[in-house]
């Protein structure tokens, strides 16, 4: 009885210790990567291809998910609002819901699925096939050549993707509201514009930057720390997407608390 209690305390201790040392490793990883920002050589071509991959190629999936979400949101708010005789709040709530919450979260989760997984699989495969080792012997620092361009691209492109998601989501709500719920288009647009504040928009874009950073960072971290063989690549990919999704949702809560509880 006492023995098993001690055992579980030890297990708990190990868990906590493990979590902290993992955090420490990630922090060191971030600091070392960022320390390369202003030190040459620079790799503009790697950066451009990362922007393409993280940003441009994510546009379709981000657009499609947010238009459906905005549309569904409009329907929900209309029926929910009707319960206390306020169905006319659709434009305002769709706008605030998309911009403050759903736009950034959708983008975060979509790039965790799309970008984090592909970065991890790519870097882990490079690690397993000794391509990372080869890079080092060719006087190239993997953190500078592989990680920095991707993380930077995530950080800079995240807000743009969120901007797209917010707009397309609002458009989805607008289409449903004007086509099926009988809202007037001009009033809908005015209601949306007048309601949103710059704080709403800034918080939305800031979340985009944070989520883009987290998604690409987790992709790189798990990729470069992959175990050996095909199984190592599989495990790394699974863990990275999981970690990115959880961290993005946690960061979403924290950032929301920071922005809107003052």
């Amino acid at each position: 009885m006492i023995l098993s209690l001690i055992e579980s305390i030890i297990a708990l201790g190990r868990l906590v210790f493990g979590a902290f040392s993992a955090l420490g490793r990630v922090v060191i990883f971030i600091i070392t990567t960022l320390s390369h920002i202003f030190r040459p050589p620079f790799y503009p071509r790697e950066f451009a291809s990362a922007v393409m991959n993280v940003g441009y190629l994510s546009l379709p999936v981000v657009g499609i998910t947010s238009i459906f979400t905005g549309a569904a949101l409009a329907l929900q708010i209309y029926s929910g609002g009707s319960r206390f005789n306020a169905p006319e709040v659709v434009p305002q709530i769709v706008a605030i819901g998309m911009v403050r919450e759903l736009g950034p979260v959708l983008v975060g989760l979509m790039i965790a699925a799309r970008v984090t997984s592909s970065i991890t699989a790519e870097l882990a495969t490079m690690k397993v096939t000794e391509q990372i080792d080869a890079l080092i012997t060719l006087s190239t620092v993997p953190l500078k050549y592989l990680v920095l361009p991707r993380v930077l691209a995530g950080f800079l492109v995240g807000p743009i993707l969120v901007g797209v998601a917010d707009s397309v989501g609002i458009l989805g709500g607008f289409l449903v509201a004007t086509q099926t719920l009988g809202f007037n288009s001009a009033t809908y647009i005015l209601d949306t514009i007048n309601f949103l504040t710059s704080a709403d928009i800034i918080s939305s874009l800031a979340k985009g930057a944070a989520f883009g950073f987290i998604a690409t960072l987790m992709g790189c971290y798990y990729g470069l720390n992959s175990g050996r063989g095909a199984q190592g690549v599989g495990t790394a990919t699974k863990s990275s997407v999981q970690a990115a999704a959880v961290l993005i949702l946690a960061a979403n809560f924290l950032l929301t608390a920071v922005f809107f509880t003052a």
């Binding site: 490079m126 096939t129 000794e130 391509q131 080792d133 080869a134 080092i136 012997t137 006087s139």
Partner: protein, 248 residues
Amino acid sequence: MITFDNIHKSFGANNVLCGVDLIVDRGQSMVIIGGSGTGKSVLIKTVLGLVTPDNGKIFVNKQDMIHAKRDNFLSKFGMLFQGGALFDSMPVWQNVAFRLQRGHLKLPKTKAREIAIEKLRRVGLAPDVADRLPAELSGGMQKRVSLARAIAADPEIIFFDEPTTGLDPIMARVINDLIRKIVVEMGATAITITHDMASVATIADKVAMLHDGVIKWCGTLDDMAHSGNSHVDQFIHGRAEGPIKTLR
């Protein structure tokens, strides 16, 4: 000169290197032989910092390799990896010219490409291979591209990890001769890992045998035939019976 001083390395309970001592003189071609899984690749990776030894010291030209910055060393270094380790996202010529396209050694694109094609020719590959992707090549061709990449910037120190494994005997001969030529012509210091006794005969000035985590024997190529060492004899004659276990 490369000096390994009492190198130890374990992976968990797997004690791979248990006190390796070895000296490779400048301009010398050292060949390391030993069964598969004895830690030959791990040993040369310790020099590059790709594997950190648990214990022991490594010096290259008197410079401590474990704590010092390796930038200087790496700029004069080339390595052929056991699996080729080509960058599969870029065409063959960009792999070969990798070093010549960025950093201090950066050359104009056409010049870098020219050198890449010249190095490809030296390893027996036609210019039309230059624009293909590594995945489109056979294993043996990948190996040769990797060799071309290793010698692209005319390194002073070169490591070859199983350069002829997976090649047909004719190509193996070409590569062995090429490695010998690189060492003689460029005066490079080379460490080659191989199981191929033809490679040993062509490439080696000195031979070292790694077994049970230590260098069991080290001597010149001429001494190897009458080393009087049962491990070496078993290995070079490929006998199943002897001190080296066949179950590992």
